[in-house]
Amino acid sequence: MTSVARPAPRRLAAFAVPSEPGNERLALARVTEAVAASGLPPAQLERLKTAVAEATMNAIEHGNRGRPDIPVDVEVVQEGDDIIVAITDLGGEHAPGGPVEEPDLLLKLEGEQRARGWGLFLIRNMVDAMQVRTDGARHTIQLTMRAGAAAAAPVSQTGGSQGGGDEEDL
């Protein structure tokens, strides 16, 4: 059996944004710039941008509780055809013990579910894979987009040591 060696991961960018409302736009602009030469098709880039913005907003609001002195760390890595974006806050488990409510538009329209609650749903539907891990206070959501892959189908969330199903929604 032969095996094909994967190219070594290449870091495209690593930066931090202060936890202030609206800085998700800063993160998505930096990520867009970082992956510009990666060959990611425009439709996939748009999906990645939405996922990055939502994950960063989640980290700012729910992870770091909007404290500007606590940064959200963003790292962008290319590994073969995969673009991997890791977004880390210092909020530890965001919603320990609380299952995420799957958004249901009809229930929302009937007032049986709050109008919000689309953030994690959007992230899951935008990327090819999503992984959540918590290591002490560090809470990381890792988004993977495969260049050239078909339109992203809803992904199953896979967790790390903790927090697999506990990502707080927006």
């Binding site: 409302p21 939502e54 907003m57 958004p103 329209l109 959007l122």
Partner: protein, 120 residues
């Protein structure tokens, strides 16, 4: 939060058109709600058109605002249609099922042409 969303409201027959520009996010709540008030405040339109042709960004909070407008319109027995969505946001309307409740047109002209007949 900085307001980066703008809205212009005008009537076309039985419909009220809300032309949005900028970013539809949490900061757009006041603008969108005021625009809806203005749209339905005169003439009791049967249909409200949300035009997104000049919108460059919609996030999850913006989706929630659109859901709230749709819920209110349904309660008032008004139809909501959308126009001018980019391919990406059209996909998001499909994923969230908003497009099950909001008919989506390619552009405002197409929406207005379709609305020339009686509202269904």
């Amino acid at each position: 939060m900085k307001k980066t969303c703008k809205a212009a409201v005008h009537a076309v027959g039985d419909a009220a058109v809300i032309e949005l520009a900028g970013e539809v996010d949490g900061g757009a709540a006041g603008v969108l709600n005021a625009a809806y008030e203005q749209a339905v405040g005169s003439g009791e339109p049967g249909t409200v058109v949300l035009d997104f042709a000049r919108v460059g960004y919609i996030n999850s909070t913006g989706i929630a605002l659109i859901v709230s407008v749709l819920a209110r319109a349904r309660a008032e027995r008004r139809k909501v249609v959308a126009s001018g969505l980019s391919e990406h946001y059209r996909e998001i309307f499909d994923i969230t099922r908003l497009s099950d409740f909001i008919e989506v047109f390619g552009n405002l002209d197409a929406a207005v042409s379709q609305l020339a007949g009686p509202a269904s």
